[in-house]
């Protein structure tokens, strides 16, 4: 009997016990299984060049994509505004999925409501659901703003959000002047980064309506969809505070996704105050930290007459330099000495660890801006990107990637894969491996199937905790990224050398 009160085995060890191995054998005899040699043959085949070509030739089937759908990004963007409720118009199951998906990454409660549309609403339209839903949501949760975004059903049947919301106001669901912004975010268009964009633009559109821009010296910063937002936004504020400038983070989830456990449940915490957003029209410039998260919102602020600048998840030395110089340019303020010293400390860490980092190869996947930012930093450390992949990357992204890779001799080996999924990446890595993979939890399949260690540095990270509480942006964030990578390299080295003892060195 494997189990005892002194030594309780859970799944991770219980099913390696002989009793269960015998059970599996009995079960497998009743499964009409594919014979082991055929399985092995197919397994080997999945790692071949021939399979790779078939795999890359897929046109319709999508396997293990590294992207989510628009409303997830919409929800993320929404909760970054102060006391703002994410309100999905569509089936309720969608909302349950968005909430649990974010909860698994942030290990935080993630609130959003749905209009719970069912078959009758599919036939007659979801107006009544929206009217009832706004009334309930307003009464129960007492938000300062509601952002309505859509899921598939509402989009396919063509519900008229503006009209419905106007109706709801008239029916008294919410006061006439209560802010209700809206965004169309069908899952069959784009990905979560576009849903993010749609909400930012939707909130600007609503809160700036009828306003005339009176330019001032402030800067808006839009962080973009970011699983490390808790650490990153705080670091961003620390950096900008050092500049002593007027700035506003537009949609700041850092407190919302990091509330304390102290006996109180804060459904809303932190976020950009609505008056701040209203005033943001007057800003001198808007800076996007992730270009592909703010294409429409960026165009919108530019139309309003603001300067607009965008970055690609600025990570590492050069990208942080450029970000700081842009802030300095826009504001006319010099880059503070304290940040210059931090820069020097990052250079110091890079120099100290360069011998371990130099020449290591990485494959990188994630959202387009992340892959750009991470690839750049990897090359700054003398690392060699091998496969750079964004399932939600387009041809513009691929062109930007190639231009980036061409800036460094370390980019020479790299191949860029726009629109490809992680099953394609498995073939790429099986045929042309890299030393490490940098990505999300989804990348652990490469560790299992190909023995390539995974470095978790982007959303979603479901199987490790709290990493998102630390920044990866800024010089200090870059040191953390460097350490994360280096720890993996040195852990790996220890693991490989522990058997013979040779090279199991005390100093590295």
């Amino acid at each position: 009997m494997p189990q005892s009160a002194d030594r309780i085995l859970d799944h991770a060890s219980l099913f390696n016990e002989p009793e269960y191995l015998e059970l599996f054998a009995r079960k497998h005899a009743l499964e009409n299984r594919v014979p082991p040699d055929k399985v092995q043959e197919q397994l080997d085949y999945t790692k071949s060049w021939e399979y790779r070509e078939k795999n890359l030739a897929r046109e319709s089937l999508c396997i293990n994509p590294a992207k989510a759908c628009q409303p997830l990004g919409a929800m993320f963007a929404t909760v970054g505004f102060a006391k703002t409720l994410a309100f999905n118009h569509g089936s309720q199951g969608c909302t349950a999925y968005f909430r649990s998906h974010l909860a698994r990454h942030f290990k935080e409660p993630c609130a959003a409501v749905s209009t719970s549309m069912t078959e009758d609403a599919a036939v007659f339209g979801g107006m009544q659901n929206l009217i009832d839903g706004l009334s309930n949501a307003y009464t129960v949760y007492k938000p300062d703003m509601i952002v309505v975004s859509t899921t598939c059903i509402a989009e396919v049947i063509g519900d008229d959000l503006s009209a419905f919301i106007a109706n709801a106001r008239e029916k008294g669901s919410v006061p006439m002047d209560f802010p209700v912004a809206q965004a169309h975010t069908p899952s069959f268009v784009g990905s979560h980064i576009n849903g993010y964009d749609a909400v930012i633009k939707g909130v600007f559109t609503y809160l700036w309506e009828g306003k005339t821009r009176e330019p001032n010296e402030r800067i808006n910063i839009i962080p973009g969809f970011d699983g490390f937002a808790v650490g990153n936004n705080r670091e961003l504020k620390r950096i900008l505070n050092a500049f002593d400038i007027g700035y506003d983070i537009i949609s700041d989830v850092s407190d919302q996704f990091d509330t304390p456990t102290d006996g109180t449940y804060r459904m809303f915490d932190g976020g950009t105050p609505l008056d701040t957003v209203r005033g943001a029209i007057n800003a001198k410039a808007t800076v996007s930290m992730q270009k592909y998260c703010t294409e429409k919102a960026g165009a919108f602020v530019a139309e309003k007459g603001q300067q607009y600048a965008s970055f690609h998840y600025p990570l590492g030395l050069g990208a942080t330099d450029e970000f700081l110089m842009k802030i300095s340019d826009l504001t006319g303020k010099p880059i503070p000495d304290s940040l210059e010293k931090e820069r020097g400390r990052l250079v110091d860490a890079m120099a100290d660890s360069s011998a371990w980092l130099h020449g290591k190869s990485y494959s990188i996947f994630g959202d387009p801006d992340f892959v750009l930012g991470m690839t750049r930093f990897v090359m700054e450390m003398g690392g060699e990107p091998v496969h750079c992949l964004a399932t939600n990357g387009n041809s513009e992204w691929a062109a930007e990637m190639k231009a980036l890779l061409a800036t460094s001799p370390y980019g020479a080996r790299a191949q860029v894969w726009a629109g490809k999924d992680l099953w394609a990446m498995r073939s790429l890595l099986a045929t042309e491996p890299s030393d490490y993979v940098i990505g999300s939890t989804y990348g652990k399949i490469f560790e299992r199937d190909l023995g390539i260690p995974l470095i978790r540095l982007t959303f979603p990270i479901f199987d490790r905790h709290h990493h998102h509480r630390f920044p990866v942006w800024g010089y200090e964030g870059a040191i953390r990224v460097l350490v994360t990578i280096l720890d993996k390299i040195l852990d790996d080295l220890d693991r490989k050398t522990i058997k013979t003892g040779i090279s199991f060195d005390m100093v590295r």
């Binding site: 009997m1 199951g93 129960v140 456990t261 449940y265």
Partner: protein, 484 residues
């Protein structure tokens, strides 16, 4: 329970309802009750549409069909048919463990396989894409034993004819292709998804295979099926081991770690043993009606219910099996006694509040009881009235019962009832902990398990102890605040 205490609980419900708009309060009032011992049900309405704009915990038909019933079948490829999200969010989240599997080669459970609808598929229809998807599946995963097509919302709205595509391609590839009409807008919760899934399983696997040859299978007198066990953290294995030890032969598991062969073989069992009544009673009824296979509900949570269930199962067989049941109970009793001796003193008198789906809001009750703990409030995300009837046999007078509870209600009830432990899902976990209450995810076993069977109960006991007695719960308040 004393009348006064019960009245206080009723007042608690009234207080919560008072915060809703009147129309909503009226609706929700029908779903909340304080149980009166002796009643034949729990006095709550169920299986009704959720109120819009109030944060329901429920999912959709797709979640019930793909996420629960079909997804765990390991040697089929399950297509999340439609846009990318549904499959993405459910990818690898239910911990339906599989054995002897090479993912992507002879098992596809922990994969996200989708037709990833784009706008053009909405505009022009997705059937052509589905044809290509199936072809590409055959190219990528030739060892699959069949394919399921799990429809997402748009599919049903734009008039795609997946049934016809499935029929045609199934003939072409010579394997079952099951079109599952589980669009998320169908029904009021996961529950209709289970039902649809059961029906499609009936029509596309079981009935068509009724006369098919099954080379690996020679019928025997002690053949049973485990139905409605999804093998979360290995639950079904920890159940199966007991049935096998008592002398039965388990000829199939539905659908945790299931193979197509096991599903097709269903009607050949002498007895179907169902754990999660809600999600798979339909197929049991079908097998009884069409193939004459009797079915029996059982409960493998905690030693009291395990022993009862083993004996009830054995009752359906001969003395050899009855002796087998007694032998199994006797074998595990010392281990279980040791577990109880270790953990009962640490857990005695602790109060639990549950809110889960399927079978657990009632089934785990006596497992807690074995540890000296008491369920003071419980409810279901997607139960029907027959679930609430069954629940009466598990709960005590005065238990608070909630159907399709909103997060808002749960929070208020927790604050009023001050349980020692809350058991619910990932969406409820972190908010509840913020309030200072220990919590276990009772869908996923909080990444632990198995919880079924004797081996599972040991883990269950350990986990409840570590949840409740972790030191952090004594430290949630800053000490300088305490002094205030």
């Amino acid at each position: 329970m004393e009348a006064e205490a019960k009245a206080a609980r009723r007042q608690m419900i009234a207080d919560v309802l008072a915060e809703y708009p009147p129309k909503t309060a009226k609706k929700r009032g029908k779903h909340l009750n304080v149980f009166n011992e002796g009643d034949t049900d729990c006095g709550v309405k169920s299986n009704i549409k959720s109120v819009p704009g109030v944060m329901t915990v429920r999912g959709c038909a797709y979640a019930g069909a793909k996420g629960v019933v079909w997804g765990p079948i390991k040697d089929m490829v399950h297509i999340s048919h439609g846009p990318v999200g549904c499959g993405q969010y459910s990818w690898g989240q239910r911990r339906n463990y599989v054995s002897g599997a090479v993912t992507g080669v002879n098992s596809w459970v922990v994969m996200q396989i989708t037709s990833d609808y784009q706008e053009k598929d909405i505009v022009f229809g997705g059937d052509k894409k589905l044809v290509k998807v199936i072809d590409e599946i055959e190219a990528m995963f030739p060892l699959n034993k069949g394919i399921s097509v799990m429809s997402e919302c748009p599919v049903g709205l734009i008039g795609d004819d997946i049934e016809s595509v499935a029929k045609r391609k199934s003939k072409e590839i010579g394997k079952p292709i099951a079109p599952v009409r589980c669009e998320g807008f169908r029904g009021v919760s996961q529950s209709l998804g289970h039902h649809i899934a059961n029906d499609v399983m009936r029509d596309f696997l079981i009935d068509p295979a009724a006369n098919k040859e099954d080379p690996s299978f020679e019928p025997g007198p002690y053949d049973v099926m485990i139905v409605g066990d999804y093998n979360i953290g290995g639950d079904a294995w920890a159940s199966r081991i007991l049935l096998e030890e008592m002398g039965l032969r388990v000829i199939g598991q539905w659908s945790g770690d299931a193979s197509v062969a096991e599903v097709e073989r269903g009607p050949k069992a002498k007895l179907n043993l169902i754990h999660c009544y809600r999600s798979m009673n339909y197929i049991c009824r079908h097998m009884e009606e069409k193939y004459g296979v009797p079915w029996l509900e059982f409960n493998f949570f905690g030693p009291t219910r395990i022993a009862k269930s083993l004996r009830a199962i054995a009752e359906q067989f001969d003395d050899k099996i009855k002796e087998g049941a007694e032998r199994v109970i006797a074998k595990y009793t010392p281990m279980i006694d040791a577990i109880l001796a270790k953990y009962k003193p640490r857990l005695e008198g602790k109060k639990i509040m549950l809110y889960v789906g399927g079978l657990r809001p009632r089934h785990v009750s006596d497992a807690y009881g074995d540890l000296g703990m008491e369920v003071i409030a419980t409810g279901y995300e997607f139960a029907h009235n027959d679930d609430y009837q069954r629940t009466t046999k598990y709960i005590k007078d005065g238990t608070v019962v909630y159907d399709d509870a909103s997060e808002f209600e749960l929070e208020r009830f927790a604050q009023a009832l001050k349980p020692d432990l809350v058991g619910s899902g990932i969406k409820e976990k972190y908010g509840t902990q913020k309030l200072g209450f220990p919590f276990r995810q009772m869908h996923s076993w909080d990444y632990s398990g198995p919880y079924h069977g004797y081996d599972g109960f040991a883990i269950f006991a350990r986990d409840m102890d570590l949840a409740i007695n972790n030191p952090v719960w004594g430290m949630t308040k800053a000490p300088w605040k305490k002094a205030e």
